[in-house]
């Protein structure tokens, strides 16, 4: 089968503008450099000629590319034949395909075409990118691939189970999503920094900046609110109309206002499930849910940190998480009390270090007469240490190990034993002093930004050694159990 015909004009425009841009840029810069911009007509005709040639090549290339690109759904592989000058034939076995994603930007939606991406566990990049097929064809492909992955063959089975809607973002949740998108850490730091130091810096710079010292905090506040609103709106655009459905053992989501995304998550390939709640979300009783599969490197590019559920009431998010990975009730074991002491020392050192740095800056520039201001933060060090401690913990259930960390953004990761790849415990010099250790549980779900591995931080060193061996041991047992009772979840 071929790509959609509308691909040709779209890609000509897409690549054409790029080429035209490069040509114009290089001509403008080179003629500006030579200084002989008076060559007038000659320069213009060269420009036109180059542009014409460039466009002609683009058009020819895109047409050839379209002609030479074909794909095919065979009975057990997805085949792609491509390449104008060097040919490439690729066969991807269906059972190796982890995710099938569809995305459309505004222009593509207008043209009714979409990009389809197939992700497999191997390799770092996307295994196949179909740019572009018609919207109808895209969803047909998504369906067909997931059907063949189940081994159901062709459309014969019309009796297949209906898609069950698991979750739909309500209007209220759209608003909450916007509100909790704010990163309070940033806001806190900015408020303190700007309101404390902006007036001083401004007054040093000159009298005409005097106004800033009065308006400084107000301006800062306004800026922060604006930033908050902007990131909220962005987030709402990104997840607008979010909808999660389930068919057999596959989840499918749709989202996005301007740029539409739709993708599938095979439940049998789920590596870890993460419940994320930042401070605001916790205060409002909401949480978001992320599902890591082996195919993805979430956060590869910024727009693709995949939330399975961007925001839902906490109990709802938990229930959905249990749908994916049925884990028991969790009662976290916190790090021992001496870990709290460690955080207090750490934060104190950070505050002292910052103050010292400001003092040095003041020494050289004389710009910060109130360099000692950060020392006030020492007052909240005990509280900060306590909060850090309070939100860390781990729990071992019969089938899962659960870890939790982070005050500002709390991540609770659920790892089924049979997904564990390696386990290691580590002790830094500072941890050794207090007989603490950290256990890291590595899975094939590529952590990426913010996700990371499941980590039980600062637990008792002896407990860490035991936990490490326990997890490795339970991995063996769960694999053996899975062999004995074949095809429980897979």
């Amino acid at each position: 089968m071929k790509l959609d015909r509308r691909t040709i004009p779209y890609r000509i425009v897409e690549n054409g503008t790029r080429i035209v841009g490069i040509i114009i840029f290089s001509i403008v810069t080179s003629s500006a450099g030579s200084g002989s911009s008076g060559s007038g007509f000659f320069g213009l005709s060269v420009l036109v000629a180059l542009l014409t040639v460039g466009m002609a090549i683009t058009i020819a290339w895109e047409y050839a590319r379209f002609q030479r690109y074909s794909y095919e759904l065979t009975s057990d592989t997805f085949d792609i034949h491509s390449g104008v000058l060097s040919r490439r034939d690729r066969e991807i076995p269906y059972e190796r395909i982890q995710n099938v994603d569809i995305s459309q930007n505004i222009l593509q939606r207008f043209l009714d075409i979409a990009e389809v991406r197939l992700e497999t566990a191997g390799g770092s990049g996307t295994e196949a990118q179909l740019r572009y097929v018609s919207t109808g064809e895209a969803s047909r492909l998504q369906e067909a691939i997931s059907r063949r992955k189940r081994g159901a063959g062709d459309e014969a089975t019309e009796t297949e189970s209906e898609e069950a809607v698991l979750f739909e973002l309500s209007d209220r949740e759209h608003v909450i999503l916007g509100i909790i998108s704010a990163d309070l850490r940033l806001i806190g730091v900015l408020t303190v920094a700007i309101s404390a130091f902006a007036p001083q810096v401004a007054s040093q710079l000159g009298p005409e900046f005097e106004l800033v010292s009065v308006l400084g905090p107000a301006v800062a506040l306004a800026g922060i609110l604006l930033f908050w609103a902007a990131s909220g709106v962005l987030q709402i655009f990104r997840y607008y109309g979010f909808r999660l459905t389930r068919r057999e053992d596959e989840l499918r989501y749709e989202r996005g206002l301007l740029q539409r995304y739709s993708g599938t998550v095979p439940l049998s390939k789920v590596q870890t499930v993460t419940l994320r709640e930042n401070v605001l979300a916790r205060a409002l009783g909401y949480a978001s849910l992320t599902i890591q599969t082996a195919g993805y490197a979430p956060g590869q590019d910024g727009s693709r940190v995949e939330s399975a559920v961007p925001v839902a009431r906490r109990d709802r998010a938990l229930a959905l998480a249990r749908d994916v990975e049925p884990f028991d009730d969790v009662e976290f074991t916190r790090p021992p009390g001496r870990a709290r002491m460690r955080y207090a020392v750490r934060y104190t050192l950070v505050v002292l270090g910052l103050t010292a740095a400001l003092r040095v800056v003041h020494f050289f520039t004389d710009a910060l007469p109130r360099w000692y201001l950060p020392l006030a933060a020492l007052l909240v060090v005990p509280l900060a240490a306590h909060l850090t401690w309070k939100h860390r913990g781990y729990y071992v259930t019969d089938d899962h190990v659960v870890t939790r960390r982070g005050f500002w953004r709390r991540n609770t990761m659920v790892v089924p034993y049979d997904r564990v790849q390696t386990v290691f415990s580590s002790q830094t010099v500072f941890q050794r002093r207090r007989d603490l250790g950290t256990v890291t549980i590595d899975t094939a779900g590529s952590g990426g930004l913010g996700g990371g591995d499941a980590v039980a931080v600062d637990i008792d060193a002896g407990v860490a050694d035991r936990l490490r061996e326990d997890v490795a041991d339970r991995l063996q047992r769960s694999l053996r159990a899975r062999e004995r009772v074949p095809a429980t979840t897979d």
């Binding site: 390696t422 094939a444 035991r466 063996q476 694999l479 062999e483």
Partner: protein, 209 residues
């Protein structure tokens, strides 16, 4: 994919295997050094005798690996020294600081190299490859045989000159190549590669993901 032929017999043999292998593998000598709980119930897909033939006691690296690390440290310090020498010319600081600091760094670096060598140890257990390493941050890794995708030995130019090899064990985890053992003699590396490979094959536990 799992080899279904092996499985039923293997799982049946599990209880017996536990007794035998953990009994065989309990030398008091290193009981205190290895972590609590390291007496593992073994992977049950190979008969216990074959497994215990493949396991090793706690081993350390060959001493000449210190030379490689030392060369690296000295190179790093030399680069720093040259850069520092240029930088200090721009300031009013005492230029004799450079040799002093480089000297201290060299000593610290060499002490670190020796400590690192002292700390480094590994062991092929019944269920997993176990590594212990790190001076500043001490790390103990358990890489279960079931999870091993493939095993490489690699030899850099410096290693070749000293007759050493590095064993690199790959898993599907996001820290895939994190499991590597440097400073092995070539024969030892080949032998280990063989052992780990066979254990990995024997421990085949279905889809690696």
């Amino acid at each position: 994919m799992a080899d279904p032929v092996d499985d039923p017999a293997a799982t049946d043999a599990a209880p017996g295997a536990t007794d035998e292998a953990s009994g065989a593998d309990e030398p008091d000598a290193h009981g205190a050094e290895t972590a609590p709980g390291s007496e593992q119930s073994p992977q049950a897909t190979l008969d216990p005798d074959a497994i215990s033939e493949h396991t090793t006691d706690r081993r350390t690296l060959s001493a000449s690996v210190q030379l490689i690390w030392a060369v690296r440290v000295l190179f790093g310090v030399a680069v720093l020294g040259v850069l520092g020498g240029f930088a200090i010319g721009q300031t009013s600081l005492d230029p004799t600081l450079v040799p002093a600091v480089t000297g201290v760094l060299t000593v610290l670096g060499l002490v670190w190299v020796h400590l690192r060598y002292r700390v480094w140890s590994f062991r092929v257990r019944e269920d997993a490859l176990y590594l212990e390493r790190g001076v500043v941050t001490n790390v103990k890794t358990v890489a279960p045989h079931v999870r091993i995708q493939h095993v490489d030995t690699s030899r850099g130019p410096l290693e070749r000159a000293l007759g050493l090899s590095t064993l690199v064990v790959y898993t599907a985890g996001s820290r895939g190549a994190d499991v590597s053992i440097p400073g092995l003699t070539t024969e030892e590396a080949t032998d280990l590669q063989q052992r780990v490979k066979e254990l990995a094959i024997a421990a085949e536990g279905g889809d690696a993901l």
